[in-house]
Every structure is written in structure tokens, then in C-alpha cells.
Symmetry: C2
Subunit: 340 residues, 2 copies
Amino acid sequence: MDAVTIKDIARALNLSTSTVSRALRGSYEISAETKRLVMDYAERINYQPNPIALSLKENRSRVLGVIVPQIANNFFSQAINGIEAIAYNRGYHVIIMQSHESLEREVLTVQQAMARRVDGLLISISSQTNNLAHLHAIQQRNVPIVMFDRVSAELDAPKIVADNFGGAFAATEHLIQTGRRRIAFVAIPPYMAITQDRLAGYKAALTQYGLPYDDDLVRFVGFQEHEFDPVIDDLLRLSTPPDAFFMAFDRLALWCMTALRKRNIAIPEQVSLIGFTNISVAELLDPPMSTVVQPAQEIGQTAAERLIELIELKEKAPATSTVKIPNTLIVRESTKRKTE
Amino acid sequence: MDAVTIKDIARALNLSTSTVSRALRGSYEISAETKRLVMDYAERINYQPNPIALSLKENRSRVLGVIVPQIANNFFSQAINGIEAIAYNRGYHVIIMQSHESLEREVLTVQQAMARRVDGLLISISSQTNNLAHLHAIQQRNVPIVMFDRVSAELDAPKIVADNFGGAFAATEHLIQTGRRRIAFVAIPPYMAITQDRLAGYKAALTQYGLPYDDDLVRFVGFQEHEFDPVIDDLLRLSTPPDAFFMAFDRLALWCMTALRKRNIAIPEQVSLIGFTNISVAELLDPPMSTVVQPAQEIGQTAAERLIELIELKEKAPATSTVKIPNTLIVRESTKRKTE
DNA sequence: TTGTAAGCGTTATCAA
DNA sequence: TTGATAACGCTTACAA
């Protein structure tokens, strides 16, 4: 049983396809009676317009391309959740693609999305992406882009991010207020904007509370777990070791918890632990770790809303604007007690 | 700058569109010289065939619909990962939709997918889905379906699942071999096939090792965390309480860990804990819990492969086949020591 | 108020 | 070896 077309309706009702088309969209130039006739029949045989034909005609696909480093990642799967919610409400579908943290694959993926004629692109760039030529190229084709989470100053596009500065400030402030003085800050490579912002928040809190900034306490690691343990050991061997660990990245916080457990360092009796992370892990396992929870879903929603606006209004260059969605600080035992 | 079409090439080269079309697909009836000419020019101006026009012509979209209860769930995001990997290799795109564990939304979602003219459907049904009329309907429209993970015997379609029986058997066997005798089994509502299979594996292992089956040790809970704690308390109050907990569902395992910690019940000194779960949580947090790891990604891959086969071969009714992908048992401290 | 015809980008059929 | 034309499903001038 093949799908019903306007032609089928026209034939059955002895009308022309254009009359049927107009009747279905409620055009004023069609008599009420014909309209009813067509509508009823269409309903009865379960007519559904073919979106592919429409896309061809209207030269748009009603599809949003979403490019993320990884789908199987709490943050991104929640963000996608938010994107989908908005997209479906507005009549768009979403095609999700992964760059696998590789610039090369990201470029390919962007090309694929263009080949698929997406109406707009939501992208969170890979950690390797230091060149945005592929994105500039599609902007020249007049396909709107919205960046989220992993954004870059080098592209003139709306950006939706968590308030990384504010979140890091709040986390650091909280540690200070609960009596910690030597706060280690560990993040992923420093060329990413999110890292920069979090580091700035950390520094600002130290300054505001009159604590010195110590380069020895600030470390950057890669994406491999084996790079992590030496960093912790190094920190612990300092002449004045840290009394708190602030892990400015999702996975780092979990690795740190494991590393401290292995070394029998008690949280929070000996050190405090706080991390940027996602609600699911944070809530399910009730870990000994306070958390700056990232508003992943809201970021996705906001980004999708912004993109659809751009697509539908087609205003030229609504200028680069960066929206910061606030984080939520969840305090647990790990950082509650004062130690001094 | 709009996308380049075959017409543009034809005009520029003073050829007809049909010649260009044939040249681009390397048809034998076009002279080598013309071919080169066309190919070179197409390359130079970066021609990309419009997939929408193709879809209309060929009456297929090269899109797979994927319906899952939730995207923001480790198992499903990994499964989607596997699906995407296969799909992109075979030239398909993937549209992901969520049923949010609701039959009503699942029905809507299936209709949407059909309206979008997907070439095939991959579905993991919601926990509320007790009626498969919506799926039968699309089978009648000759759109192939493959079910994965959450499957139902009531639909005649290929099914890809984890080896739930085998995994539960292995977990139970492991607990028995490490000296446990009173093994609690907790799962989600019993009408789901996965629950049935896991329960059967549990029973089979008891039988094989000559242990009695005790109804008191087997419990079913809903999806809400507050339903969970009373069940644990109930089990602990038994005249002979369990010496091991087997949580036959992802979230339950995590809840159980938290519940036991709250009650100061030591793992594995007092009880063993083992659960069905996902690799990411299991690995990252190094929890005191052995795990039957579900091959989420492989399930996704296999399901996608099967679906694409069905789409492309268009064999009629390749019959219902159920593929079981083995689980992996990861043993940790939580179940290692013998207690008796 | 309704119908005819052209067009969106591509391929297939038939002619030249 | 190449070109003209029709067709996929739909919308929209333009005509009736």
C-alpha cells in the first residue's frame, strides 16, 4: 500500500490537483463545500503531505543539523534532548552527527550536512578544532549557524554556553567559604574557550577573597585517563599540597574521585572535591563530590530556538551574541565541613 | 550563493542536463572526453547532487527513523552511536525520536516518522507499550521495522537484544560460586520481555546449582526512585535476609548501591552487589558493584545492519529472527570474596 | 470558484 | 554519443 498523494484525492473527487492543494491549505478562494469534501476525504484515506516534495519546491528541508563531538556523553545527549524538544515543536527534524573530537571528521561531517541541505547548523566544535574554515564556508552559503557549549570567538555566530566563569567563581568561592585555602584547579587543554572562562572564574574568586594565585596548583591534562594520575600525584607532592580539588571538566571530576579513593585520601576530611559535571551521574551515585551542574538541556533548547529564529526570519547578520545560561551549584558533604 | 545544480553545469558547458547527469554517473554511453569535461567542471564548482530531488525521484529518503524511550540515557545513546556508525557508512542518515516511556507519544512519533517518509524504522518500545497496532500499521505500508533491546513477541520483525537470559545466568552463577546462597532479584515490571528473560536466567542458575527458588527474594518496582527504598527495607527484614543483591536493571543497580550505603551495609563484606548496567558508569566511578555490561553499541550496529539489509533487498518477510548479543560480566571486589 | 501549466533537481525513456 | 521530454508530489501564477 503506497502513500496517498494529492493526485489520488483529485482523481477520486474529480477535481484538479491544484484545487485539492488549495482546499487542503484552507485557501479563501475555494468554496466551503469543496473544502469540506476534500478535507473529509483526505482525512478518511489518511493523506499526509510528502515533505520531500515540499522541500524540493520550497528549497528547504525543515531539518536541523546537529554536530557534537560525541553522542554517548551525558552532556551532549542531554543537550540533544533539549534541541529535539524545541525542534519538533516547531516542525523541524534533527539529524545528529559526531565529529569524534577530530577536526578532519568535523569537516567531513559539515560537508555531509550541507549535502543533505540542512536549513541550519548547531555545532559544538571538537577539541581539535583550531581552524574554522569549514564553518566560514557554509556561512557564505547563507546557512545559519549557532554554536553551543564548545564555541569559538573566530566565528561570527550566536553562541550559547553555560556561564563557565560564574560557575567556576561560585565553586571556588564555596571552597574558600568552607575554609579551604590551597585549591587545585585541573582542566583540559587551555586553548579551549570554556577552559579559559573557568580558569578566569577561579582566579577572580581567589582575588576577591584575597588568596594568592599559585601556578603550581593549576594543571592541564589531555583526554586520556593515564595522563591524569601523574598530575594528581604531582599535586600531592607539592611542599604545601592542595586542601581542595576543583576539577573543571566532567570526566576529570570522576577520575579525581577514583584517584583520591585509590590513595586513601578521605573526602571531605582531608580534601574537598568539587567538579563541573552532569546531573545524571551526580544524582544517581550520590558521590562525595559537590558539583557545578551544567544546564545541558537548557543550552540545547536555547540554541535550537535561536537557530530556528535565524532560519525563519532570515534577518541578515543578527550579530554575534553570546547567551550564558547559569549553572547550578549542588553542595554535598564533600565540601560542607569547615576544616579550620 | 545558492547550491549548484546540474542545470548550471549544462548551461556552462553547453550540454543538456541529461548528458551531464549521465556523465556524472559515468554512464558508458558518454564519450570519455565529455565525461572528463563534466567531471572536472563539477569538481571545480563543487557540485553536490541534491538528495531531496533524488528522494523524490526514487521514492525513498535514505533516512532511518530511530525511536527510543529516552536519548539522555547511557544505554540508548550508546546504541544510537552504533546505529549512526553503520548508517553513515551505508549512506543513510538517522532521525532520532523519543517516546518518553509513553505509548501515546510513541504512536505520534511513529506517525511523524512515516510522514517524514523514513525508509525503515528501528524501535525500542516504551515500557508502557502493550499494544502494537501502530507498528503493525506501518508494516502494512511495507516499511521494514527492526526492534532492539525492548522488543515484543507480538510483532513479526527481526529483534536484536542483549542475551538477557545468559547475562542473568552468568551473574547468578558468579554469586553462587563466590559463596552466596540467598540472592535477591529486583527488576522493573514483569510484563516486559527483558525482565522475563533475566528472571528466567536467574532461576535457571539456581536450579543448576541446586538452590531453592524463593518468591520472597524476587521483587518488581516501577521507574520512580521512591518506590525503591521500601523494597530494599522489606528484603532486609526477611527472617533470612539476602546475602547478595542482583539488580536486573540499570538504574536499580545504582539506587541499590546508594541504598546500601545509606544503611551502612558493607559491600562486599556483608552482601554482594551485581547489576545490569552500562559501561560508562561502571568504568568511570569504579563502584563496588560487579556488572553485566550490556553491549549497547553492538546492539545498535547489528540492528542498523539488519534494517538496511531489509530496505535494500526488499525480500518479503525474511521472517522473525532474534539475534542475541552476549553481555560481558565484569567482576569487581563487590563479589570477589568468599564469605563462607 | 476551479483548472492548466510551469517549476523545484534529478533520472529514465525515447528519439535523433 | 547526445538531446528533448516526462515524471516524482507539491505549490502557484495565470487563465477560464
